[in-house]
């Protein structure tokens, strides 16, 4: 479970995210939908400890990210939107590094690395440096890293962008499985369609504010009733 209370982040005096409140329950796939520049990545960076909060608080499974960052960071796995991970490491070295960071026992590592990278079709590339990977391959190695240490909470920033259909399908299946185990999946996207396919619940963010939060059915109703949301809906559907 993720709890965000009154989270605020300013860049050069301008608020990128303002007084954001959100509770992400366990056992569900939670979509975080919004157009480019809405504040999705900024919110996620505050959740993961990359950006310090200007105000408010965020907790992962009850552990506050600002006051007990080490423990909080053990609760989640994060797939960044950018693929600038440690580019000079080989894929295998990266996964092994993650294994060391999260204290994954060697026999589990071996088994999982083989299984995961084979199902993502990057097994053959494990001995190459990551900077030679395509965006999609980098995405897959990070996802493999997350699955390797198997955290309760998954946080993914635009995870499907750049993935080929097969990998996209694999990842979606994995997200569903994780939620089905009663764990938390939180991901951002700017594509309405993805939310429709995948999510149990959704929050819509625009210009740093949450404009809607609820189930998929409620969202569709709201889109028809609320004028503002309808405009946003057009933005989210037309652009893709």
């Amino acid at each position: 479970m993720i709890e965000i209370k009154q989270a605020t982040k300013n860049f050069a005096g301008k608020a990128a995210v303002k007084d954001l409140n959100l509770t992400v329950p366990d056992g569900k796939i939670f979509g975080f939908l919004g157009p480019n520049g809405a504040g999705k990545s900024t919110t996620i960076k505050m959740m993961t400890g990359i950006l310090p909060l200007d105000a408010g608080s965020i907790s992962m499974n009850g552990v506050d990210i600002s006051t007990d960052p080490m423990k909080a960071k053990h609760q989640f796995g994060y797939v960044p939107d950018r693929s600038d991970i440690f580019l000079r490491l080989k894929g295998m070295e990266y996964l092994n590094f993650i294994g060391d960071v999260f204290d994954v026992p060697p026999n589990v590592r071996k088994e999982k690395i083989e299984y995961l990278t084979k199902s993502f079709d990057i097994y053959e590339a494990l001995n190459d440096q990551i900077h030679t990977y395509s965006h999609g391959m980098r995405q897959k190695i990070v996802v493999s890293g997350v699955l390797l240490h198997d955290p309760d909470v998954w946080i993914l920033d635009e995870p499907l962008t750049g993935l080929d259909p097969k990998s996209s399908y694999t990842l979606k299946e994995m997200m569903r499985e994780h939620a089905a185990k009663g764990k938390t999946v939180f991901f951002s996207t700017h594509v309405l369609e993805v939310v429709e396919q995948l999510c149990d619940e959704v929050a819509i963010i625009n210009k740093g504010h949450v404009q809607f939060r609820g189930s998929m059915k409620e969202m569709k109703q709201q889109f028809q009733e609320d004028n503002n949301l309808e405009k946003l809906f057009l933005e989210l559907t037309q652009n893709e």
Binding site: T48, M70, K73, D84, I85, N96, L126, N127, T132
Partner: protein
């Protein structure tokens, strides 16, 4: 031809434009320029004095052209050395190389465009040293207008052949390096090339010059100019042209120089047309390996986190060509150069000079060698690039549950490792070649270990305070940042004060008492640095983005 011209102008504009530079960078350059003025004046005065002295020595035998010969030889070496780096990066490693290839230009045109900036930049050095040098020579020899006009032409032409030949050599080399189709490896080779060149030139000069000096030569030898410019025909031709600018012979030499330069340019175009693309195409970063089952076994071993982090840092330096050359090779260049020099001097005054140290004032010896260590270890490129090296991947340290202190410590250890390697190399030279007494070496070694730690910490802290993370090319980590000077300045001040104070405490005498006192002071400094580092990490670590 007009296309070539346009392309050259475009490239010059793109590479030299100040438009996209930040104001901080611009002020940086301005400050640097202001700082350089007194240095420039100093160099000019020295140059003038040197030429005057040489003129007085050589003119009685009519050998004054040797001065020009020496000047031209030195400049030629300089051009070649500078061009190796600039040509390689402009021709092969620049980000934009591959974007020019699909455009409808001949290879020679792109090569010419790419050559423009490296070639023009030679005239920077030229304006600072050769131009005043030629003018001073003119003044001392009381030359007329003809000399100055010829000198101007020589000034313009002198860089042409060294540059062109270096570029051609590099194109040849890259043609073959490319067989491995590996941009990374060729970058490393390129980095080592400059390194090898420095040592090679040193060896050649020492072997050639031997122990005879110029003045002895002047007395005995007839064709002194020919001797000095033995391997540098353009230097010979240019000197001869300027030695007697009014004579037929002088004019012929000048014409010859012009013709050779024009020929060189033609050759460059011809070879560029044939070879340039062969080296460029297929330059792709990284290499592909196939992965087999048993490699998994090798990797999945549990290691302490600090070791994993440290390994990651070292791999980053070894695998990123720019970091490899700028950090690894650079921090070793000084000790290795020192050793080459020392070994060549084996039979000279330095070889086995160590035992004499034992007879000197122990206090003086240890203070002096500590001072030397501060200079050698003071500015460590690994430490001042600690955080900046990560660039856009820095944020990965933030969401992973890794204690900040461990990340910083892994960077400290990396910087320290490089210092330790030079320390060991220098120790080997000191013990085996100079034969320094074991007691002095022990004292120096222990103190140097601490100095290295303090220096590394200073560098890491400066970089942590204000790292450059948003680079797109690794060279930005080192270029146009004035950070390297900061730790060195602080250390010079701190250690300088300590050394002066210890030197003036008269009751403190002898090797071991002084070493003991320094040890305590340095340990205290280490402790202070660690505390400061902890505070700084708390304040800065999460606020760098």
């Amino acid at each position: 031809m007009s296309n070539t011209w346009k392309l050259m102008k475009l490239m010059v504009k793109m590479q030299l434009s100040f438009a996209h530079r930040s104001t901080a960078e611009k002020t940086g350059y301005l400050i640097l320029a202001v700082i350089m003025i007194p240095f420039g004046l100093l160099i000019l005065t020295l140059l003038n004095e040197l030429i005057a002295a040489m003129y007085a020595a050589f003119s009685p035998t009519g050998d004054e052209a040797v001065i020009l010969g020496v000047l031209f030889v030195l400049m030629t070496v300089f051009y070649c050395f500078i061009s190796i780096g600039t040509v390689l990066s402009s021709f092969y490693f620049a980000e934009d190389v591959e974007s020019f290839v699909p455009l409808p230009f001949h290879p020679y045109q792109i090569a010419a465009g790419k050559a423009a900036v490296p070639f023009l930049s030679l005239y920077g050095v030229n304006a600072v040293i050769l131009l005043p040098g030629l003018a001073f020579y003119g003044l001392h020899s009381g030359a007329g207008l003809l000399y100055y006009s010829s000198a101007l032409l020589v000034w313009l032409l002198l860089p042409v052949l060294p540059f062109v030949l270096t570029a051609i050599a590099i194109m040849f080399m890259m043609r073959f390096v490319n067989i491995s189709k590996n941009k990374d490896r060729s970058k490393v080779i390129a980095g080592l090339l400059g390194f090898g060149f420095v040592i090679g030139i040193n060896v050649v000069i020492r072997l050639e010059g031997g122990s005879q000096n110029m003045y002895q030569l002047a007395a005995g030898q007839g064709d002194l100019l020919g001797l000095v410019t033995k391997f540098f025909p353009t230097a010979y031709i240019s000197s001869s042209a300027l030695a007697a600018p009014a004579s037929i012979q002088g004019i012929l030499f000048l014409v010859l120089m012009t013709a050779l330069s024009a020929g060189g340019i033609a050759l460059f175009f011809t070879i560029g047309q044939k070879l340039y693309f062969k080296g460029v195409l297929g330059l792709s970063g990284g290499k592909r390996n196939t992965f087999t089952e048993d490699t998994v076994e090798v990797y999945v071993k549990k290691k302490p986190l600090i070791y994993s982090l440290f390994r990651k840092e070292v791999l980053l330096i070894l695998r990123t060509p720019t970091f490899f050359t700028q950090v690894f090779v650079q921090s070793l260049i000084l000790p290795v150069l020192a050793i080459v020099l020392i070994i060549m001097e084996m039979d000279g005054p330095l070889g086995g000079a160590g035992p004499q140290l034992a007879e000197m004032n122990g206090k003086f010896v240890i203070l002096a060698s500590v001072g030397l260590s501060v200079v050698v270890f003071g500015s460590n490129p690994a430490s001042i690039s600690s955080i900046s090296r990560d660039g856009k991947s820095w944020f990965n340290h933030l969401y992973l549950p890794i204690p900040p202190s461990k990340v910083i410590m892994s960077k400290m250890l990396t910087a320290y490792l490089l210092n330790a390697i030079s320390l060991v190399i220098l120790s080997a030279a000191a013990l085996w070649v100079i034969k320094i007494p074991l007691s002095i070496w022990t004292a120096w070694f222990i103190l140097s270990l601490l100095i290295s730690w303090i220096a590394s910490a200073a560098g890491v802290m400066v970089d942590l305070y204000s790292p450059k993370l948003d680079w797109t090319d690794e060279r930005e980590v080192f270029k146009g940042r004035f950070i390297g000077i900061v730790p060195l300045a602080i250390e010079a001040l701190v250690f300088g004060v300590i050394l002066v104070i210890v030197w003036n405490i008269n009751s403190l005498q002898g090797l071991w008492p002084v070493t003991g006192a320094l040890l305590i002071i340095f340990l205290l400094l280490v402790f202070l640095m660690q505390t400061a580092m902890r505070k700084l990490t708390e304040r800065r670590y999460h606020n760098l983005l």
